[in-house]
Amino acid sequence: AAGEKKPGEKAPREKKRGKKKTGEKKPAEQKPSQRAVGEKKKKIKKHHASRNPVLARGIGRYSRSAMYVRKALYKRKYTAPETKIEKKKKEKPRATIIKPVGGDKNGGSRVVKIRKMPRYYPTEDVPRKLLSHGKKPFSQHKRRLRASITPGTVLILLTGRHRGKRVVFLKQLGTGLLLVTGPLVINRVPLRRAHQKFVIATSTKVDISGVKIPKHLTDAYFKKKRLRKPKHQEGEIFDTEKEKYEITEQRKSDQKAVDSQILARIKKVPQLRGYLRSTFCLSNGVYPHKLVF
């Protein structure tokens, strides 16, 4: 009855649920109806009372399908606006590609599927693995650094050919290894990687605040290179692999660039240079668990 009163109303009005008319409205006139619509937009929507009278608690008079009709849901189908993610999902990747084909009278090109059907189905299916969580590959592991190791700390290397040498810590690399330098002129330790676990951090620190370490010094830079192309000649395979390590010019220039900055700061601290030149050793009566580093 309320809807019939105002034939001049706009279509969107139907979408709104039926409202209780609070007061009597005058017969249809443009102005009051427009004002009413405006009012309704500002007003909080009042929902219709339940169209399903209650017979007993939890039991309604009408079934689901009857309610569908009573609520006129056949008229009211809403969809949420398509989000960007859904739009992206809709965009299908290309299924086929056109490739050129050689030879005479061949038609010049073929339409080739990009993702082909499998050419083999195993007779026994591989059993489904149970879900596990938190098993990340090495590249995604969390890297930790001991609080005692900060840029500029003097470290004592414990393993490797430079064991016992005292060395300046520069930064931690992506894999968690520590980038370290002698500096070279002081103790013949070049820019090198060291493992955190095999290092003693002393409390002596060099102020490295302004030192700029080149960005290309990463793990890939320091990784050992192995030749991978034995050309099926059994006799000479071992020769082609790098026996002698040669210091490249880039390494020398990087070493110079970093060391020159650090040496200046080392010179400021008295006796530090001699300290870095010396090596660490234990002797009688010296117990590492009692030493303060």
Binding site: V154, S203, T204, Q271, Y275
Partner: protein, 158 residues
């Protein structure tokens, strides 16, 4: 044979226990094993303490037995026990031991270098009366025991 006795007013050094390293004055004797002890100027509340954890020092204060803390404090400050204690060799040895334990790796290196220098000077004393190394050494940050040693070496050289 015995020079230091347990008596009222004897200042003792506590060697172990919760108050290890502090000085106290013996106020009264409770029984064969315990004494009433007070250390107003060293942060030890008046309490009973077994003799076993006390080591007697050379200092004796004058106050009557069971004197209250105020009296003990007055006597302590009058005698200036804290300063006298710090001047004894005993206290200095304790301090030196503590410093040595706190030495970092860098400090150990510096001490090693200083010791080497001293021994070199000492061996050279008869031959060359040069003294340029002395100035080098004095620039280095010196540990308490190290400075004593250096002064000794210089005395020997002269």
């Amino acid at each position: 044979v015995f020079k230091r006795f347990v008596e009222i007013g004897r200042v003792a050094f506590i060697s172990f226990g919760p108050h290890a390293g502090k000085l106290v004055a013996i106020v009264d004797v409770i029984d064969q094993n315990r004494a009433l002890v007070d250390g107003p100027c060293s942060g030890v509340r008046r309490q009973a303490m077994p003799f076993k954890c006390m080591q007697l020092t050379d200092f004796v204060l004058k106050f009557p037995h069971s004197a209250r803390q105020k009296c003990v404090r007055l006597a302590w400050e009058k005698e200036n026990i804290n300063e006298k204690w710090a001047a004894t060799r005993w206290a200095k040895k304790i301090e030196a031991r503590e410093k040595k334990a706190k030495m970092t790796d860098f400090d150990r290196y510096k001490v090693m270098k200083a010791k080497k220098m001293v021994s070199r000077l000492a061996s050279k004393k008869g031959k060359k009366p040069e003294k340029p190394e002395k100035s080098e050494k004095s620039e280095k940050p010196e540990k308490a025991q190290k400075s004593a040693k250096v002064q000794k070496a210089q005395k020997v050289q002269k």
